[in-house]
Amino acid sequence: MKIARSIYALLVVALLIQGCAFSRGTLGDDIKSDTVAALQKGITTKDEVLRLLGAPDRLVPLNGRDVFQYYRYDAKAGSLLLIILNFSRLSIKSDDLFVILNRDGIVEDVIASKRTDALAFRFWPFGE
């Protein structure tokens, strides 16, 4: 009886997910929250930033300061392919980290946000 129920459940799940497709793509290394927390304003030096995070993806000169920009993109795509009617949705979000270094090469400010944590697979293209 249990086996029959399991088979029925498996069949229902198989029917529900048929025609579904999931894809994912990422660009850049993960920016770990621990690493960002280790950057201390007025204390951490440029060398330490480079050791912790590696070379920046972009270096921006900003009013006499150097800004190291690190980013990571995460893309999740979901599709519902019903042969004659197809829905797809691709959501892309980024994690960004800006480390602002003063003229002495000391961290002046850190601007960071992690948006990819809330990124979900979606296939329904309507609504928000």
């Binding site: 972009r58 921006v60 000169p61 900003l62 009013n63 800004v67 920009q69 980013y71 004659i84 009617l85 197809n86 829905f87 797809s88 949705r89 691709l90 959501s91 892309i92 979000k93 980024s94 960004d96 980290l97 800006f98 601007i111 960071a112 946000s113 948006r115 293209p125 309507f126």
Partner: protein, 162 residues
């Protein structure tokens, strides 16, 4: 007799709905979270700092230097693509694979820019474009909204011609 008519009507309705969805593709691509004017209403030029902006909106996508200060840019995209292939209607009756495709893409590329002075206080804020995001609408021949079936589309097309 009434029951037969009702049954027929529901079957015809089902077939019509099915036919209208034949060969349809609806695709949406979103990059970052779209910002609306109400999302950035808290920014008061001359008062709000970049730190407060970051606390509310997250880190910007880019920060660049300019002669008058620092520009932080939040980029976002809300692409909508819809496609209908009317060739599907003829498929059961023809040996070839016919296509009659109407499709349309609205790119919905926009950005929000904040100009800050040397003290990181916001001096100006503005959206790159003032888009009203159009709904999925596969008819490609509409130009400046004149052929749109509803006044709604007319208003949209005047503000956001694709």
């Amino acid at each position: 007799m009434t029951q037969v008519i009702r049954r027929m009507a529901s079957i015809v309705l089902g077939v019509l709905i099915g036919l209208s969805a034949l060969g349809c593709n609806v695709i949406r691509v979103s990059l970052n979270t779209s910002l609306a004017p109400e999302d950035v209403a808290f920014i008061v030029p001359g008062k709000t700092t970049l730190s407060e902006v970051v606390a509310n909106l997250g880190a910007p996508d880019s920060i660049v230097d300019s002669d008058s200060g620092v520009v932080a840019t939040y980029r976002f995209l809300d692409l909508k693509y819809s496609r209908v292939n009317f060739g599907w209607l003829a498929k059961p009756w023809t040996p070839v694979d016919p296509d009659l495709i109407f499709s349309r893409t609205g790119l919905g590329v926009d950005a929000f820019e904040v100009l800050c002075d040397g003290q990181w206080v916001v001096r100006q804020k503005e959206f790159l474009r003032h888009l009203i995001r159009p709904p999925f609408y596969p008819y490609p021949f509409q130009r400046s909204g004149r052929l749109a079936p509803m006044n709604y589309y007319l208003a949209l097309a005047q503000l956001d011609p694709l």
